[in-house]
Amino acid sequence: MIPAPFDYAAPGSLEEAFSLLEQHGDEAKILAGGHSLIPMMKLRFASPEFLIDINNIPGLSHIKEEDGYLKIGALTREAELETSEVIRAKYPIFLDATKLIADPQVRNMGTVGGNIAHGDAANDHPAVMMALRAEVVISSAEGQRTVPIDEFFYGFYMTAVQPNEILTEIRIPVPGPRTGNAYHKLERKVGDYATAGVAVQLSLDENGVCTYAGIGLTNVNPVPMRAARSEEALVGHKLDAERIELAGQYASEDCNPSSDLRGDEDYKRAVVKALTKRMINKAIERATS
């Protein structure tokens, strides 16, 4: 399968990229790792007339803690998360997630920015970013704006990124002490998209009372989803079995999975409940070790 014809440019700066976006409007698409876009173009699900390859633009690939944020450049490859020191030390949730994203070759190409910008509830980073309450930095010729992750996903393949804009960075507030995070998805085989996935981040005070809860769900809603009622069930409480059960129950009730080849609706709700409880327990374990 070969994509339909299109024109292509690989600008060397953001300014050039913005002027190409200006010129081509919504006929143009940004090309990052290409591992969501090119498969769609081969299948004719997408036929952009112009591709703007951002891989030659410097300054879009980094993982660093700065000004109270973990900053991840949009062009950072999945594989780079796996080997980053700061990720290994403080954000094991990304190791949990990347290990389950596709396979090593796909992770050598796929970018964190592209994974979110694609706006697909089946991708794994959106739920993780919800659990961590990330902010998305979006740039255009006019300047920069920052969008909280809860206002980023609009609908099926639709995000806050406008046709004249480029997602440039993801910012994650550096969590306080006694914080733990974890992600897991159920997949039918290695490399599959999630039947359901759950991302959790928790912070505890000295007495074990939960002061922060972030819970994101993968592929059980038309858009990436925050399990808000589950979070509320945890914050302000000691996390005993009853609380954890309640959070799992709420997540399974509040999600909206559709029946498909990966399982029927009831099955997916049951998976969400089981995974939510498991990830809460794992996050507590990491927060207290």
Partner: protein
Amino acid sequence: MKKQITISVNGEKHTLEVEPRELLVHVIREKLRLTGTHIGCDTTSCGACTVLLNGKSIKSCTVLAVQADGKEVSTVEGLATAEGLHPLQEGFKENHGLHCGFCTPGMLMRAKELLEHNPNPTEEEIRWGIAGNLCRCTGYNNIVKAIQYASAKMQGKETPSTEPEFV
């Protein structure tokens, strides 16, 4: 609409005219006639089209040739040298790491990057490491052994027994 690209393939520079929509695997196979790189699924699943792009293993059925402009591509044809087979090729040969051979070029190129990052991988690391490469024949056990053989050989260690396992 054609673009001129320059890619270095197994150390040799090529300047080519390509349409932006041409996939790297097609340029490698049809323009450069290096047919060791295979097309299995054409949907980023099987890994038969795996080559190295600037040293990183990628699936060339899902990369545009224009994305490789100015970069180095390594294919299976570049593995052996005048001195003989690459330790990975030797490992596959000694351990019956292939039956029909269709997956083998992709397996070799993926394993090459794996051993560069992790010269002494555990069995589990090897299995996760080749998770993006499908083999319909071997049942994988002898492929894992072949990679263990190459790992030992490349570190100057004694190579493990090559008693093949038939599954």
